[in-house]
Symmetry: C2
DNA sequence: GCTTGTGAAATTGTTCACAGCC
DNA sequence: GGCTGTGAACAATTTCACAAGC
């Protein structure tokens, strides 16, 4: 017997990565008191094109009404449920330097679904200090902290040189979702989700494009210049 | 006459996004005193597979030696040149709150190629304050600051509600490369490169996957559960 | 009449596997 | 013998364009 129907579940990664964007756009619309929105309008608000938006939403289900559009609050709820924001996730931040400090106080966290549950630092000087309403705990207590607060998601905000060791310990403690802010390549075993946020990577990507906006020719290698000359018809 | 040869230039976006990663891996190897590296080793260090690495590098040119590998320093230099890090880019940070502060002091910036040239904030209280060795200037001077320091890349680290207005002003001043840290959807006209770094987006993506690791069935919609039941053979 | 939801086409990105070269 | 560079196969993603449904 052949596969009778396509297996359900299976939202493409690219779509998953855009759901938070849609959620934010919907929140903005809800705040403006908009009750219903078309895919064109929502796409415009989220900064994507409407075909993509409709395709993305179609992976979640059939939540719109033809000829009308989407009900803002309803769609907001469906996406939240899909992402898993109907529960709330206790988040641990490791490394309470400048960046960890900023993250602890960051508004972006406030988005429902996440709660900074604990802060940890390796520096005994910082231990006990209060940041964003939480007492900073020492790294030695990592094990306890993870258990005590039932941490599922951890954020690494340590200096680059410490990132791999911290990551290894987190993985050993059973954490499988890690967000790395340290400017370092960090390896994780199969089954652990690691995402990275990296200022210098982003700047480099911008620089690449910026460089090409002006004197594009300057950036050609000698080899490529020869190719170009040929193609242009030398 | 038909197109005689493929037009050169044109490194795929996906490749561009990985060049900074390779550069970082190469830097790590150089620091360890490694002089030559194979695509397998470099790929391992960078956390990608070696076929992808070789394909990526092949878009830049033929910088390896068959049977041997790549010369670390040479490749480092080629990638730097490709990205445009042989010049250095004066960067402006707008919004010197917690996050802007952290970014100003961030080690990731130190990577050659970027220099924080100016800081700007809308709060007159902060104007004149010294952060990371620079005097914070007032937003009203944005025009002057951009000209004075020849800013090409700007970082938005303001609260969400101010992000769009700041972005519009930056665009008006001719800036075409913007990195947005504010948790808000920001629109830019054609021709402007906007990249976003967003904590809550990243957390949401992790949460999506985390949710599916345990009680995956819990996440099915009623509709999908019916589909699944059918597929399984009800 | 208007807008969603979706097959099919087009494009982009990844992996394979091996010829070419040291 | 070993490793790069790359066509060709494959997979994922985006876009098109229109049938289906309110």
């Amino acid at each position: 017997m052949a596969q009778p129907a396509p297996i359900p579940r299976g939202v493409p990664e690219a779509t998953v990565a855009r759901l938070p964007l849609y959620l934010r756009a919907l929140t903005a619309l809800a705040e403006r008191g908009v009750a219903t929105v078309s895919s064109d309008e929502l796409a415009e608000t989220a900064g994507v094109n409407s075909a993509k938006l409709r395709k993305d939403l179609s992976y979640l289900g059939s939540y719109g009404t033809r000829g009308v559009g989407y009900e803002v609050e309803f769609l907001q709820h469906q996406i939240s449920r899909e992402i898993g924001l109907t529960q709330d996730w206790p988040v641990l931040i490791v490394g309470i330097g400048n960046l960890g400090h900023a993250l602890s106080n960051y508004g972006g966290f406030a988005s429902r679904g996440f709660r900074i549950a604990a802060l940890v630092d390796a520096d005994p000087q910082r231990t006990g200090e209060e940041v964003a309403g939480l007492k900073v705990r020492h790294s030695d207590d990592l094990d306890d902290v993870v258990k005590e607060f039932n941490i599922a998601i951890a954020v690494i905000a340590t200096p680059a040189h410490a990132a791999q060791a911290v990551c290894d310990r987190l993985v050993d403690l059973g954490i499988t979702s890690i967000l790395n802010f340290a400017p370092a390549v960090v390896q994780v075993p199969e089954g652990v989700d690691l995402r990275k946020v990296d200022l210098s990577t982003e700047l480099q990507i911008l620089a690449y494009h910026e460089q090409r906006k002006n004197g594009a020719a300057l950036a050609l290698t000698a080899e490529q210049a020869v190719e170009l000359a040929k193609a242009v018809g030398g």
